[in-house]
Every structure is written in structure tokens, then in C-alpha cells.
Symmetry: C2
Subunit: 196 residues, 2 copies
Amino acid sequence: MTTYRHFYVKSRARTSPDINLKDLPGSAGRLDIVARCINAAFWLSYGIRKNVIFHTILHGEPNAPVYIRLEGEKLRKVSPDERSIAIFIGKALKKFDEECEIESTPGIFVARKSFEELLEENKDKNFYLLDENGEDIENVEIRNPFFILGDNLDVLPEEKEIAIRHGAKVVSIGKKSYMSSHCIAVLNWWMDRYEE
Amino acid sequence: MTTYRHFYVKSRARTSPDINLKDLPGSAGRLDIVARCINAAFWLSYGIRKNVIFHTILHGEPNAPVYIRLEGEKLRKVSPDERSIAIFIGKALKKFDEECEIESTPGIFVARKSFEELLEENKDKNFYLLDENGEDIENVEIRNPFFILGDNLDVLPEEKEIAIRHGAKVVSIGKKSYMSSHCIAVLNWWMDRYEE
């Protein structure tokens, strides 16, 4: 049986499909962060992790919240660089439909969804909220995980409250404040060792 | 006393300053890899690791080898996204001087230098060559480190031979073949824990 790894990264990126690829950190609302997180979640040197599912909700103007999901088993055509990943997020935003979830390109899904709805749908998994002050990962059993991470700013208190209400365990990979993409690289590596 | 962490990543990127920023993975010769490695080497959520020194040698046409070094203590103006980092590498390539090392922008240095010369200059450090089949990092004492990594292809046998001749220890972070940038993120995290 495949054990899936779910990662959710909160984002403040803009929700308009006209992404300025020359300015992902600026006018696109730190879309570079989401792109690097997706890179860290899926890519190995030779291929894609099929057991990873990546979730994000873009909270920026003008059409928030937009939920985007990438599934490793189905993901095709995307390259691991920020620009390529941003282009595919743009395609998802372009095909967004208020009424129903759309598979915009192979393995990438877009829909209207709130953070609370997302957790509700995934309550069969174990939620782990990343926070410097959480319990050290070394002392936590990671099973059927759904990790919740902030972007460059932390998750809001009300989001943390929603996560806790859904049973999230607050875990830490260290006292330093790491970039979300580096957290994901470390978590993937940690779980690889764990499973070996 | 600050303990410095050195990372070297071999690169096949082009050595011409006219980098096509829309095609880092293609015509620029996988410059996206170098950019992500630099991101992983230096950035924390709030600031830059001042104790990191990053080295690369670009081996692509038309002017190889070009050696580039970034020093965390002096690094300024660069943003953590691939495009910004690639722009600064372009500036370094533009200011390249056959005769002497140039500081092209704050904290970024460019010169003519071979891999063997680089190791010779750094022989006061301990070389660790990353390889899936090396000794597990858990069983290795890391002290005053100079890590040597390949890009998407491994280091060549003759480069490995040069490293071994300079006393490099072959170490592994796992059996999977990880992207170089993910290796660096894990190594930084590993050493953070180590030092705490």
C-alpha cells in the first residue's frame, strides 16, 4: 500500500491568471515561494515522487480563495524550475471555474475552496502544523501525514485555531525559521529515512 | 569563532553573460539548478546565513571553466528566487577577467579556476563528497566542512579522483538520488541540529 504524503502551503499569491513571470516575488505575490515548495515536494534527481500530493490556497487579489492541488501520480509536463511551475499555476488560474473542480493540466486541479473545507475533506489524515515552537519531529510519530505550512509569513492565528480544532499536532524541525521549501525538502528526506 | 560551511556544486551552465532568463533549464545549461542550490545554501526565512560560502565552476560553452563564489557575510541585493540569482550570475560573467578575481557585485566573486586549483586553495578544510553509496552522514563527524556535489549529473570519475586525492570523505544522506539543492537544504538543517 502506498503511503501518501500531503503538504499544504498557505499562499498570499495573486489569483489572476495574468502572472508576470519576470516578477514572481513582487507583483505575483511571492508565487516564487509556492513554486519552490512544489519543487521540493515532488522532485528527485530522476523523476517525481508519485506518493506526494501538494495543496495550496492562494489568498491574493482579485479572486481569493483559489485552491490548487498537484498529484504526483498524474503530474506531467511540468519542469522543476520556478518559471515552469508558475506557468502551470497560471494555466490553472485561467481554467478556474466557480462551479466545479477542474483538472487544468495533467495532475493539477483548481477549485474554490477554503482552508476549513480542505481540512474537513482530509480529516482521515493526520494533520501536522509546522511551527518552530512545536514538538521536535524526532519525538513525533509521523503516520499518514498532512503537513500544514505557512509561506514567508506564518499561518494566521485563526488558521492555526482551525487546524488545532481538526486535531493538528504542532511539530517543529528546529528553532530556526526555515523557508517553507526547505522544510518540505527536510520532511521528505526525514520520511524517506523513516520508511527505510 | 564562526564555523564556516562551504558548498561546491559542479555545473554545466553556459559561461556567456547573455543568459536567456526565460530558459534557465535549457539554453542556459541548467542554470536553474545552480540558482536553487544558492537559494538552499544561504536563505533562512528572515535573512541570509552569514557562515556559508558557496562555490561553483561553470563548465559550459563558450568560456569554461568560470569559477564563481558567493560569501554570505558580504552578499547583498540578491533575492532568493531563481531569476534574481541568475541575473547576478550574469553580472559576474559579464565582469569576468581572465587575469584576476573580480567582485562583480557585493559578495559575488568571479575568476578563472579549475576544480583542482579550488581544492588546493581550500585544503585547510575537510572535503566531503556527496554520493548515494558513501558512508551514512549519521556516522560521520562533520567538522570545518567543504561539501562537493554534482549537478543533475554526477561528478565525473576524474573529479572524484581529484577529490579523493585531496582527502575527501565520500558521504551519503540516503539511498535516493536527491536534487543537489535538496541535499544542501538537508545538510544545512543537519548541521544546525548538530551545532545546537
